[in-house]
């Protein structure tokens, strides 16, 4: 009895010696493989569910006129952070124009750290999807909104809460998938 117990125990110990490193390697492979598909660029915003920071800035098209997001109080709006220097903004511009045309929600522009002339030329040559663009030449309001890279698009509810933030170029698929359902949900609960 005793001898058979030793006999069965010894080989199993030897097997573990080989299985353990292989198992560890496999675990690492799984971890790395899963990490491959993970988006490490997009940082979650701590502002989701918080009141949207208030701002008052000069309008891009007329610096003598102020524009404030307080003007949108009581209605849902989108704040899109853009700059004429930003490649991703160029990419999403067509989608923004289409969204603006659908008229579901007003898009407020935040022109971030931009050259004003270049920004005006951009809107003139590519089309203007914004109800208005605020000129944030020093990037102060962008910091308040936790902006770290344009384009960034915020959805603000009628209650003035940031309910969604999209980082990177927008397109109609993303709009339909993320923004539209959220707008419908917020619209129902808001009334």
């Amino acid at each position: 009895m005793n001898q058979t117990a030793i006999k069965t125990e010894k080989p199993s110990k030897g097997v573990w010696r080989y299985l353990l490193p292989v198992g560890l390697l496999l675990a690492l492979v799984v971890v790395f493989y899963v990490s491959l598909g993970r988006d490490k660029q997009t940082l979650p915003s701590p502002l989701i569910g918080k009141p949207a920071p208030q701002f008052e800035l000069p309008r891009l098209d007329d610096l003598s006129l102020p524009i404030s997001n307080a003007e949108f109080a009581g209605q849902m709006y989108v704040l899109n952070v853009w700059g004429s220097w930003c490649v991703g903004c160029r990419q999403e511009h067509g989608a923004l124009l289409q969204i603006a045309q659908r008229g579901e929600v007003p898009i407020l522009g935040l022109n971030w750290n931009d050259d004003r002339e270049a920004a005006l030329y951009w809107l003139q040559s590519l089309g203007d999807p914004y109800v208005a663009s605020a000129f944030d030449g020093e990037g102060r309001i962008a910091i308040d909104w936790g902006v770290y890279g344009a384009p960034e698009t915020f959805l603000v509810s009628a209650q003035g809460e940031i309910i969604h933030k999209h980082i990177g170029p927008l397109n109609l698929q993303i709009w339909e998938r993320d923004f539209v359902p959220m707008m419908q949900r917020a619209g129902v609960s808001g009334k």
């Binding site: 030793i6 940082l43 979650p44 915003s45 701590p46 502002l47 750290n113 020093e138 990037g139 102060r140 962008a142 910091i143 308040d144 909104w145 936790g146 770290y148 890279g149």
Partner: protein, 167 residues
């Protein structure tokens, strides 16, 4: 049963343990030297500094605690990105308003999340992260000690070693 297997722990225990100890000591000294000789990185901040050296030191220290969110692996003290410059300006202004270090770090995390802190906060979610160096050192150290002690207790079969057979 014991006759089937030669006892490998018997020969020259004392002599070989001394050698194992020396190896461990050298390893420990190397680790200590790496820690002590570490050079602090110098900042590339070109913005006008505070006149008061105490404030300037505080400013530099805070700038080294905040991450540039564009470059990710750099602090705002080390980064040339426009956002880093904006955040440095914000930092100077907050200091100018007399905000405390905690208030400034809170201001940044309220907007950018914990990720903006170059040094992650000690919260349950980061316990493993903070414990990792100690755990790895303990694990590796234990493994190394076990291997070194075990090998040193094996009979020395290297003929070129003058210590052959000495116990």
């Amino acid at each position: 049963m014991s006759a089937l297997k030669p006892n490998r722990f018997a020969p020259g225990v004392a002599g070989f343990d001394r050698r194992a100890l020396r190896t461990l000591l050298v390893a420990a000294l190397l680790i200590l030297a790496t820690v002590l000789l570490r050079q602090p990185a110098s900042a590339i901040d070109i913005a006008p500094a505070f006149e008061d050296p105490v404030q300037q030191a505080r400013y530099e220290q805070l700038a080294r605690e905040l991450r540039c969110l564009v470059c990710r692996s750099e602090t705002i003290a080390d980064s040339n990105a426009p956002l880093a410059a904006d955040l440095r300006r914000q930092l100077r202004e907050l200091m100018g308003q007399g905000k405390s270090n905690a208030e400034i770090l809170q201001y940044m995390t309220e907007r950018y999340g914990d990720y903006v802190l170059y040094k992650p906060p000690l919260v349950p979610r980061t316990w493993l992260l903070w414990a990792a160096p100690v755990l790895l050192l303990l694990g590796g150290g234990t493994a190394a000690a076990v291997v070194i002690v075990r090998k040193s207790r094996l009979p020395d079969t290297d003929p070129s070693d003058p210590g052959l057979g000495v116990s």
